[in-house]
Amino acid sequence: MILKVKKQNYGTAICSAFEYLLEKYPEVFVIGQGLWSPWYVGNSMTDLDKKFGVERIIDTPVSESACTGAAVGASLSGMRPILVHPRMDFMLYAMDAVVNQAAKWSHMFGGQAHPAVTIRSIINRGGEQGAQHSQALHSWFAHVPGLRVVMPSTVKDARDLLIASVLCNDPVIYIDDRWLYEQEDDLPPIEELSLAAQGPACLRKGADITLVGSGFSTYLANKAAEILGKQAVSVEVIDIRILNPFDASLIIESVERTGVLLVVDLGWRNSGFAAEVIARVTENVGTDVLKCRPRRITLPDAPAPTSRALESRYYTSTDEIINTVKELLS
C-alpha cells in the first residue's frame, strides 16, 4: 500500500483535523472566541466558518465560563463539540465547567454519561504580552482526574491527536503552542487513533541520557538532541504527549537504560509536571540506576515579564538544554 504523503505545518495540520472531523461527523461543531476572524488562531482554522457555516463554527460573546459549560452540555446531548480558547489564560474564568463539571461528570453519575467535549486551549506567549497572556497550565489540568490532557509536539500528532481527542468520549484538554506552528512535516493519510491507547512516545533513540519534554519543550529537546548527536552524545528523546492519565513506563524503561534523566517543561517549576516525571521515575527505578541526580529545566517561578530584555531570558533554549545535558554527563 502506498501512503499519500502531504506536506503540512503544525497549524495547517490542525486545520486539516478540523476539516476531517467536520466533514465526517455531523455531531462535531466548534465554538469559541475568534472563529470568524481570519487571524485569531494563526493558520489553524482558516475559513472553517466559510466551509462549514456559522451554525457549526460558532463565534461567541466574551463569556468563557458559559461557553465552556455550554460545550460540556452539548457533549452530553449527543454532540462532539470542540471548544476553542485562543489563549489558555482566558480559561481561568472557565475552571468550574472544566474541573467541577466536565472532569467529574462520569464519576458522579456512575459512568452513565460522558462529556465528550474537547477543549482546545492554546498556549500563546512571547511578544512582550506579559503575565496574563503567556501561561501554560498543563500541570494544573494534569492534576485533575477525569480530564485527559494532550500536548502534541509534532505535526502529525497535532492532527491525529486532535482527531483522537474529539472522537474520545471523555473530556479532553488539547493543548497546542503557537511556537510550534511553523514546524513542517510530510504527513501520511489520517488514521483514527484511540486516545486511551496513546501515551508517551520515543522520538529519538539514545543511550547516554533520557530527555523528556511535552509540547514546545519536546521540540527544543529534539533540536538539542540533534546537535548533541553530532557531538557524539547519544540522547533519547521522549515526548510525553498525554499528561493525564500519565503512563510513565516508557520513560522509566528508558532511564533504566541510560541512568540519566533530564526533564524539560515550559511551565513553572514548583508543583509542576516536571516534578511528576522525576517522582515517577525515582519511585520506580532501583536506587542504583541513576548515575547522577535527576534534573529539570523549567520556567522560573515568576510570572512572564513583558520587557524584551527580560522576556528573552525567561524562556529556556536549546543551548540551556545542551549545556545541562553536558553537565549531567560530565
Binding site: 463569556s63 458559559a66 455550554a70 452540555g73 465547567a97 463539571q101 458522579m108 477525569g146 486511551a196
Partner: protein, 348 residues
Amino acid sequence: MNDLDINQVNYLIDPANCHNPIYIKGCDTNDLINYLKMMMMIRKVEQKLAIGRRDGFIGGPVHLGVGQEAIAVGVSGSLTCDDRIFGAHRSHSHLLALNPDPYRLFAEVLGKVTGFSRGMGGSMHLWDGPSGFYGSVPIVSGTVSLAVGAAMAARLQKTNHIAVAYFGDGAMEEGVVHESLNLARIQESPVLFVVENNLFASHMHISLRQPSDMQSRFAVANHIPYKLADGNDVVAVKNAASELITHSRNGQGPGFLELITYRWYGHVDWRDDIDVGVHRSLDDVDNWRMRDPVTRLSKAMIEQGIWSAEEEKKLISMLDNQISDAWEKAMNDSYPDESATLNCVYEI
C-alpha cells in the same frame, strides 16, 4: 419589566397571601389528579428522606424542597423524555416528576448501586438520562450553562427538543448565569430557565443579597420572554411553563420562568433552621405552610367535586405503602463495588 409584574412579586412574596384553594376551572381532571398524586408522592418521599437523615441512615446532606413541589410537577407536565433537564442541589422533585421511582431515589441517597446514579452520586448528584434528567449537582449554578449547551445541541440536531435549567434565586447571583442568559439569547437556544425563587440562599434572605426580589428583571435585560407565577400553584406553573416551552419548541429561543415559593425545612436536612436563616421566622414558615401547594390543589378539587376526602385517604395510604416498601428494598441493596472509584473516572 412593568409595574404589574412588580406588584405581583410584592404580592407573592408576602406569606399572608395565597392561602386559598387554587383556580382550576377548565383544567383536565385527570391532569389535576395526576398533579396531586405526584406532589404528594414527592412530599412523602422527601419527608421519608428527612427522617432517614435525622435517624442516621442517610450519611450525606439532603436538601429538601418540601413546599416547592408544584414547580417540578407543573413544569414537567410539558416535557418529554427527549428533553434535557438539569437540576441542582435541591432536585429530588425535578427527577421524581420525570420518573416517579422512589425506590431508585432512595437507593441513590443511601449510596446503593441500584440508585439512579449507581450509588456514585447520593442526594446531590442525580441522573436519569432515559427520562430526560441529564444531571443535578451541588455547585450552585453549575448546570445552567450546560443546559444552554444541551439546547444548542437540540437546535443543531434539528429537533424540537428543549433543555431546562432549574436553579434558585441564589444561583442568579453567579456570573455564569448571566453569561448563559445572553448566550442562549444570541444563539436562540431552546432552553427554559426555571428560577425557583424561594427568597433564600442558605441562611441569607434575598433582601440581603439583591436590590430587588424579582429575578425576571434579568430576563428583561437579556430580552428573553418571561413569565412570573405563584410557584405554589401547580396550574399556574403548568400554564406559564407550557406557554414558554411551546415558544421554545417553535424555534423562538429561550424562555425564563420565575416562580415565587418557599421551603419549609431549613437549607439542608430536616431541621427548621430558624436560628440559621437571617430574616427567617417561625411565623413566616407557618404562614408559608398555609400556602401549601398540595392542600390548595386538593381543596380546590374537592370544592369542584372531582376529588374527595375518601379518595385522598386511599391515595395517602397507597403512597405510604409504596414509599415504605421502596425504602426497605433500597436499605437492603448493596453498595457499589470498591472498583467503581477508579472505574468511573474515564469511560472504559
